[in-house]
Symmetry: C2
Subunit: 461 residues, 2 copies
Amino acid sequence: MSNIKPSLAKGTRDFSPQEMVKRNYIFDTIKKVFKKYGYAEIQTPSMENLATLTGKYGDEGDKLIFKILNSGDFLAKVKPDLLTQANSNAITSSISEKALRYDLTVPFARYVVMHQNDISLPFKRFQVQPVWRADRPQKGRYREFYQCDVDVVGSDSLLNEAEFILIYQEALSNLGLSDFTIKINNRKILSGIAEVVGKPELIVDMTVAIDKLDKIGLEGVIKELLERGFTEADISRLKPVILLDGTNEQKLGSLKSVLAVSQTGLAGIAEIEKVFAYVTGLLKADQVVKPDITLDITLARGLNYYTGCIFEVKTNEVAMGSIGGGGRYDDLTGMFGLKGLTGVGISFGADRIYDVLQELNLFPESAAAGTKVLISNFDEAAEIYALPILQQFRNAGIAAELYPSSAKLKKQMSYADDKHIPYVILIGSDEMQNGRITLKDMNSGQQRQLSAEEIIELLKD
Amino acid sequence: MSNIKPSLAKGTRDFSPQEMVKRNYIFDTIKKVFKKYGYAEIQTPSMENLATLTGKYGDEGDKLIFKILNSGDFLAKVKPDLLTQANSNAITSSISEKALRYDLTVPFARYVVMHQNDISLPFKRFQVQPVWRADRPQKGRYREFYQCDVDVVGSDSLLNEAEFILIYQEALSNLGLSDFTIKINNRKILSGIAEVVGKPELIVDMTVAIDKLDKIGLEGVIKELLERGFTEADISRLKPVILLDGTNEQKLGSLKSVLAVSQTGLAGIAEIEKVFAYVTGLLKADQVVKPDITLDITLARGLNYYTGCIFEVKTNEVAMGSIGGGGRYDDLTGMFGLKGLTGVGISFGADRIYDVLQELNLFPESAAAGTKVLISNFDEAAEIYALPILQQFRNAGIAAELYPSSAKLKKQMSYADDKHIPYVILIGSDEMQNGRITLKDMNSGQQRQLSAEEIIELLKD
């Protein structure tokens, strides 16, 4: 066995018990909402055939896919001249036939196509699993991270879009966030604008430039639009829509007149209006905090991928990028030969949400709950006396430990402190004689003598 | 984008919603017990540095580790003569510096060493994560599968061993299993036997042969022992211990006389007796089903790894290999330069437990619970009427869906059937007029008209 000082692979993380409890709190809270809205969990393998992933994420994405080396004598089948040329690109497909999942969307598409005879449409699924990307690691960017996706495939109803808004609202509220904005846009509105300006072929350039309004301001966007092939005249036509202001209704009103001649643009507006109508209908039920939804025409999410509504969520309590996003994409499964299936979905940025909750101190006490009571261990007699009491606690559903040796009390107390165990039980000769044991509240320092049954009553919640 | 017929990577699996609910049921049930016994969850990355894993699993194990191809121009740094030789083994470390987790034990050891200043001992952790092995796939053997491990490091108390017995007992009972045997042995007893026979250097050969008693019978074991270097005389001394019979107490009694001259052997017996005493003490509490514990001298688990108690669990209800196992290993972290830490742990074979529960039909109804009620969608008026009702259900914690379009009722009903949704609500013009909606019980076919509030009362549990 080699004797090396161990380290983590670059860009990866361990999660401690404290971190795991908090991460599970986030995932459990979100999953519970997914289920209430009729979504069911699936999982796909970490490894996919390389051919399943290649070509789905663009050239840059392909480079970031982690490939798995074939097992055994992987060079045996490689042509000798490929080896002497030392051409990494050319050789890759000969020595690697599997790769790690890069996102959850392509495996989901593969899943739908492979299981099309077993699933009934619309198929509502969520998936919370790690993905791997060979990105250069940096603060907040890891090579292994969890994605948390919820999608429905096979339904073009805009009720789905409306429900995703409520899923965001409910999940993030349940996590304790109180001030966040759900931005909505529609790809067809962006297409309509490009059409009206007369440069439909430049739609990608336009959205990329407009997407930067927050970062580089109007001047920056204009500069970029000029660089990307728009004229001053185009830009004067674009300006009113880039700087659109007012309530959602006012914005939609303005857009309707700007896009009056664009079928596509008007269809996008109608979709947004229908989504809003569904949200209003759903919110007629009581007890729901109204979501803050903003039509944001600069929202393009850089992607040439969405075809209808686009979403993004931003917290207003902490400076942080988006904590979620998604949208409608037609033809999800076309890449695997199953045409005509439309999908819509959103995802939650779990790592960022973690950082937000941490910064706002929003993790509840219960998200630190491990062992509730530690029974100290003075000597063998006390240990024997403690055994059935220990088990009594557990039978009552209380997480309990007996310190496993009769170490110094100070050591046992600092063990309880380190593990954030809120109660310690002291059993000495007094306690064994009178049958009442001492319960110490580690927060207040208060001690009192009680029976095991009384302590169980006290600690059960 | 390529247009290929998609397939799964060899030896990997998708998990459908129905399977996920059952898998989660198993993991949640087991984790809940871990927590009650004071264990906390950690997670480690899927990828480790190759050097962290290499040399820990023997030569055969090393071959089964999935290596990850370095990103970018991975051949650039390889010596040209290595390439022309086409020697796969020699080139591997030049083109791969990371690998996929092979088990949870080595990453746990790395975790303990790297975080030794942050954790307080004894450190009680559980970990439920996938591992990857380049095994030849076959029935029941996958290249990606979950391990479910619970270990404590830094405590030599035999209370830990006793608690693991109760953890098995409680977790498997909670899963509905009623007839299973927890086998226990101690490596020191095996060492003592080898010592008494006078062949301590053949201990591995002896345990490997004895371990096969169940499979090849006494004759087979004797044949193998002869082949492995034991004499007829050795075997006549071995026979009584191999064929040991009676209660645990009787077996321990016989062993004590056989091993009277072996310090090590007697120490092993004393450890088993202490574990039994702890179990008896813990079981003085009420409400606990007594575990079926059997001292099994043939239990060796083939491994040269354990140093103290060894466990294995076998269900008696279904023909199946062991559904769990573990033991005490000294010097867990020595491989990473931290000496003198002892550990003990067990694991649950989740895939096998799944198969057992499936075969015995032990998955509870609740382990299929997805959407509880589907609201059918007749037309636009009914849809609008349904929206706040839909949300009322969800606000009451009831998983509910509205069929997202006004498809034919038959189609909507078969959607409910396929998703095993137990209730469907019908809203037609009658219902909208009188404010009472029709609830159809999909199991009984029974229909009745109720208010939304009455339905909520009925479906809440």
